[in-house]
Every structure is written in C-alpha cells, then in structure tokens.
Symmetry: C2
Amino acid sequence: MKVELERQILAANDVLAAENRALFSQAGVFVVDLMASPGAGKTSTILATIGALRDRYSIAVIEGDIASKVDAEKVRAHGIPAVQINTGGACHLESAMVRRAVDTLDLEALDLIVVENVGNLVCPSDFDLGEHAKVMILSVPEGHDKPLKYPNIFQVSEAVILNKYDTLGVFDFDEAAFRSVVASLNPRAPIFPISATKGDGVPVWTEWLAARIESARGATA
Amino acid sequence: MKVELERQILAANDVLAAENRALFSQAGVFVVDLMASPGAGKTSTILATIGALRDRYSIAVIEGDIASKVDAEKVRAHGIPAVQINTGGACHLESAMVRRAVDTLDLEALDLIVVENVGNLVCPSDFDLGEHAKVMILSVPEGHDKPLKYPNIFQVSEAVILNKYDTLGVFDFDEAAFRSVVASLNPRAPIFPISATKGDGVPVWTEWLAARIESARGATA
C-alpha cells in the first residue's frame, strides 16, 4: 500500500511538473534545480553564480528549506528576487510548491531561475519540479565515497559541482576514485571543481549554465 | 490522504519500535541511533567510539545506507560485528529494518549497539527505531546555521556531536551562534566538539555514552 501510494504521489507530482516545464519553456526561462547535502554550499554557489551571470541575464531564486528564511534573505541582499518556500518538515520540494512560488515571479522578465532544493542527497532526486536540469553539489569534506552510497542523485543530475575544492588538502578525499564512480553512474555528467566562496573554478560552471540558458532562449525565438 | 497515510506509517513503525525497545531493555543492551548529513563523519565517529569503549563493552554496529556495504566493511575490519542494511532508496531506517538486522545478532552477549542511520538531516528524525537515545552529528564544514534550517533533528537528539572540530579555523563557523540556537531548540542536550579521525574530544562523548550503557545494564540487574 505504501509503495502504491508513493507511486500515486509521484505521478501527481509529474503531471504538475510537466505543466511547470511548459510554462517555463513558453517564457524562455531556464530553470535549474540545485540539490546537495545540508552545508555543501548551495547558497554560496548560487551567490557565486549570480555574481558571474547577473550582467548578462535576469535571475530569480526559489529557496526551499524545512524552516527559516535565512537563505532568501542572503540572496535578496544581492538585489536578486528570491522566494522562500518552507516545506514545514518535508524533505524535498514538489512541483506544486514550485508552482506557487513561480506564480509570484514575472516569468517573462526572467532568463534564469535557480531552485535551491532542501538539503538532502536522497528525496529530492525522486521529484521532478518541471526544471530543465537537475544539478548536484558534493563538497570535499563529505568524502569521495558518497556516489557509492547515494547513487540515484548522481544518476539524475546533468552536472556535478565539487565544491570546497580549496579544502582538498585538509581532507582525505580521493578525487580519482570519486571521478571513477561518478563516471560509472553517469558517464555524460561533467564535474566542475569550484570554491564557491573564493571563486576558483566558478567560470567553467557558469559558462556551462550560460550555454543552457542560451538554448532555452533560442528554443522560444 | 498523504498526511493520513504518513500518520499510519509512523504509527505502524512506532508499534514495532516499542517491541524493539523492550527486546533491547530485556537483554540489557543500550542502543543509540546516530544521525547526520552525508559525510558528517558517522562512520569515523563509530570507529572512534569503538576504539574508546571496546575494552569495557561488547559492541555491534548496524549500518544503514541506501546502497553499498562499504561502512559495514570498515567496521568489521576492526573486528566488530556489523550488519549492513541497504534501504534500496529509502531516506531513513525504520523499526522493521532494524528488527531484521537485530535478529542476526546475539543480543544477550552485547552491551551496546550503534545504529548508523542513512545520511540525512530530515527523515530519520521522524522514525523511532526502538533505540534508547538518538544522537546527531553536525560537522563544522556544514555551517553554524544548520539548526535554524533543520530544527527537528536537533530537537529529538539527546546529544549533539560537533565533528571535524579541528577544521574550525578553515571554515566560517560561528560556534557561539551555533550553541545559542541549539540551546534554544534543545536546552538539555550536551554538545560534544570532537575530531573523530584525530581523537580530540572523543573521551567526553564516550564517557557520556558509557554512563548511559551502565544505566541500561543497571535497569536489568
């Protein structure tokens, strides 16, 4: 019964996700769903991304958290519109939550929406929000063995950001082993080593994202 | 409907959890459920705990992971019995999974079972496994704002381990702010700053745990 209900919840979520995606595509806005563990640096990566792309693109952020509004406030402090979703205990965002947040934004005026999912390497990977791409962040302190333990999120992500790369010398992180397991799970996903707070490596990630934004705009032109 | 079913699942879980707890108490074995984000150092903390207490107590470990058996192998390499549970996608352990694992152990011969939950700051906090205490680990690289974003897990934990404390100088972690929010959520929970891999601070945590193990033995005597 539990499995059957989970299937129904996922199916209902997928219907609304498809509607979201059609809405985004019609408006020519590219939507990326950023997933990671708590503290891997989602918000820092979003701020670095905003810094790199704000002169070229109009950006908004949807912040998903169990509780608090600290992340939306951090983004708004940079003059970027941010909508905070509090899931009230739920371990992931769903397409209906994203739709309510999107309804408060002027989609036609936007080129990019970054959705920051709840900090969790498990549940967010099962839920389509209507985004065009899921991207995940792993941070060096979490350890190189994480793709073995949380394979699904590495499989559904179109790109993998390896954050806090500047701390590689502090932790026992085997980058070759990490890359090998990620490649076996998802051979086409690029890996972007970055330090979100210091800026190293950020341009390679943001140019990949810019290329995706251009494709979304081209598709509606 | 979703909320009602979640309530039913939790209620069914609680019935079996109570049975587990009675079984543990009867055997005089203390069971701790260790919860944390992926990569916060659950397995390293377990190995440090084994190192500190193995001469005094008979210990077994139950390892919960979505996939892989790497953690159980790490524990067994130290000569300690370890049962690996693979949840096959589920984001938390449930009492039925723990029961099946426990059935493979000789409870009467044990003083302590450490259950390593799936790496997740959300879902494990909702599920009683029949343990005597839930304890959580936050690691310094995750950031001091995590109690604001994931309040529930801080509320249900009897103690909070602050791991990777030796990297405090590398990250922008405001320990006073962290302690203040934890105290507001859970005034009675002690905070144990440790470095699981280097050993600093470990004795304070393991002596707290030893006192709990002694209580569990005394209760059956």
